[in-house]
Every structure is written in C-alpha cells, then in structure tokens.
C-alpha cells in the first residue's frame, strides 16, 4: 500500500486489487447488491483507494480498515445515489516515513483483533458479520438485537487508547 501511496506503483496496486477486490465483492453481495452493481461498486472502491492513497496513514490504521471504510461509503453512494455524511477531516498530512514502532503496534493489535474474532462462536460471529457488513435493518438496530460486542470489546479498547493518543497529538499541533 505504501508503494501505491508514495510511488504510484501500479504493479503494487494490481496486487492490492487481487487481494481485496474478490473479498470486497463478496461483502457487497451480502448486503444485497446484484452481481453487476457489485462489480461497479468494487471498481469504484478500488479507484477511490488509488485516488485517495495519500490519505492512508499506517500509524493509525491497517489497509483493511481503511478499505472497509471506503467500501461502506462507496456502496451507499452508489446504491442510494446520495453522498453519505462523513466526519470532518482532521487536516493532517500522512508522513512519508511512518514511525515503525507505531506501524507495528497497529499490526499487532489487528492480529489480536482477528484472533478475538476467531474465538467467537459461529452464532456470535454471524451476528457480528451481519452488523458490520450492513445486513441489519434499521429496525434490528433500534431493537438492539444484542450485538455480542463484549467479547471483542477488550481488543477494541486497546486500540482506542492508542487512537485517542494519536488524535490528541493531531489536535495539539
């Protein structure tokens, strides 16, 4: 991803496509898009990844989180034909030389998060997937169908501490 961001490396982008595009399509199909529209959305997502690569910051997020976020936005933009409201940008420039220890911290955290997800029962896992892949209806959300968030919460909490620290730094500048 950094090769895509920093040197506009098309071969590296092709590898990113090979890894994420088939998974993205699977996710987009789950939330109800038809075959043709799903591929249109995948293409839009990957094009956005290419165009907004400069905004990717490995000190804050894994590539997969960043792409997940773009995918959810683009799918809504395409399906609802309206722009989804997004939070204000914090107005920072990602650094050319990311701090290696912070990048490693993000990776470690993400590994632990995946392990925590892997430890869920199949039922819990299925509810979590539904919630994060947009398969829940508005009514489900209002009824609060009991997301088993508790099990992954300790992992999220650790990430929160680090992110809060990072954001504080950005605000103070």
């Amino acid at each position: 991803m950094l090769a895509v961001r920093d040197t506009r490396d098309r071969v590296a982008f092709g590898r990113l496509f090979d890894h994420f595009a088939p998974r993205l399509k699977a996710v987009v199909l789950r939330s109800g898009s038809a075959e043709g529209q799903a591929e249109e959305i995948v293409q839009e997502v990957m094009l956005t990844v290419w165009r907004k690569a400069a905004q990717f910051d490995p000190e804050r997020a894994q590539v997969s989180s960043w792409i997940y976020q773009i995918a959810r936005n683009r799918q809504i933009d395409v399906v609802r034909k309206e722009n989804r409201p997004v939070p204000e940008e914090l107005g920072y420039e990602a650094e050319a030389e990311p701090d290696a220890s912070r990048v490693i911290a993000v990776e470690e955290e993400s590994g632990k998060l995946r392990a925590a997800l892997g430890a869920l029962t199949p039922e819990q896992r299925s509810v979590i997937e539904k919630a994060y892949f947009g398969e829940m209806t508005h009514q489900d959300i209002r009824d609060d169908t009991g997301l088993p968030l508790g099990t992954i919460k300790s992992r999220i909490r650790l990430g929160l501490e680090r992110l809060r620290h990072e954001l504080k730094g950005l605000r103070d500048e």
Binding site: R10, A21, W66, E82, E109, L113, H138, G159, L163
Partner: protein
C-alpha cells in the same frame, strides 16, 4: 470546548460504520464525530473490526475484464468534489448538508426557529434554534430521535446537554427540553418519525411546520 459527556451509543456507531443508519441519523453521527475525539477513535476501532472481517471473507469470482477495466481508468480525470469546512457552530458535514449556503431559518413562534435540512420517508433532520431560557413544547416521539447540541445548552428530565452532547430519545420518552440562559441553543435534530406534541395547538400546527 467544554467536555462532551453524552456520546453516540455503540450500536449506532457500528450501524453508522456499516452504513445501515438512515441518512438523517448518519448526518448527526458524522457531526458528533467531527466534534468528539473519543467517538472518532471508537469509530476507527470499528473500522478495524470491519477490516478484519473483510480479510477473513471468502473470495468471490470476478468477471475477467474487471481488473483491466479498472487499470485503464487510473489516469482518468478526478471529478471535482466540493470540500466543506466548519463554519461557526456548524461542523463540516452539516455545512455540506446545507451545500455551504448556511441555514434558512423559519420562525416557529416564541423566538424558536428551525431550518429543515432534509425530510423524506426514512426520516428528517433539521436545525433548531431556541433562545436562552426558552422551552421546546412537551412532546413524545413516534420513533427514535437524535439531538446534537452545536451551540449553547439545554436540559430536560434526563440531564444537561452542552455543545457536542448527543441526546438519544426513544418512543417512550416524553420530555420538555429547556434552553439554558445565554446564547441561543442551536441543535441538530433527526427523527425517523414525526414528533407528536402534547398540547392541542402545536399538534394542529405540525403539518404546517413539519416538526
């Protein structure tokens, strides 16, 4: 900025991250996150969960031309998207919802003003401006109501809400918010159903004002 004490509930933040919240509620969540580092960090943590699930997802087959099509589009001109910034009490997503033009207030009586940003079958979102010390009429909710304070403060039966605070009201809450003395209290309020006022007169006025 004063300390924010009322945040976005976890399930709403997950729904926002996943894109399942109706547009009106999404705007309120995006506005709160713009004002609140704690919820911004929480949102990014939810993106990490989404990303981890994405990594584990089995691959679907792509049509043969998809990759080549995409690679040929990399040099296409990038369409210009307007960039909105915070203006006064209004965070960027609210400015974007007004297309940068600022609120168009209509009077509701008693110095209370509103500016409807959008209203459709899935819900409505509007700005409300209440003079300091003034009350909003008694009402119950036919659905879910999210109210984000952008300026000033109000208090009701459930507590005090200052700038950045988010109140989540459900069907069963009947409340009477009163703006704190001081500058006008400006709120961003979204519902998925029309509000029902207790007193007869405001109810008759409802279709007129769409509140």
């Amino acid at each position: 900025m004063t300390q924010i004490v009322h945040h976005v509930p976890e399930r709403l933040l997950v729904a926002y991250a996943a894109g399942t919240l109706p547009q009106a509620f999404s705007l309120v969540v995006a506005a709160h996150v713009s004002m609140c580092d704690q919820c911004r960090a929480a949102l990014e943590a939810h993106h990490a969960v989404g990303g981890a699930l994405l990594e584990d997802e089995p691959k679907s087959d792509l049509s043969e031309r998809l990759k080549a099509d995409l690679m040929s589009r990399l040099d296409d001109a990038v369409p210009d998207e307007p960039v909105y910034r915070r203006e006064g009490p209004f965070p960027a997503p609210v400015v974007a919802a007004m297309q940068g033009r600022g609120p168009r207030w209509t009077k509701l009586g008693g110095g209370v003003k509103q500016s409807i940003l959008s209203a459709d079958a899935t819900g409505s979102v509007r700005l409300l401006s209440i003079p300091g010390g003034q009350a909003v009429p008694d009402h119950t909710h036919g659905g879910l109501e999210l109210t984000l304070v952008l300026q000033g403060a109000f208090a009701d039966e459930t507590g005090r809400f200052g700038a950045g605070d988010l109140e989540v009201a459900n069907d069963d809450l009947e409340h009477k918010p009163i703006a704190e003395a001081g500058p006008d209290c400006i709120c961003l309020a979204a519902t998925d159903a029309p509000l029902r006022f207790r007193a007869l007169v405001p109810r008759l006025l409802q279709p007129l004002f769409r509140i």
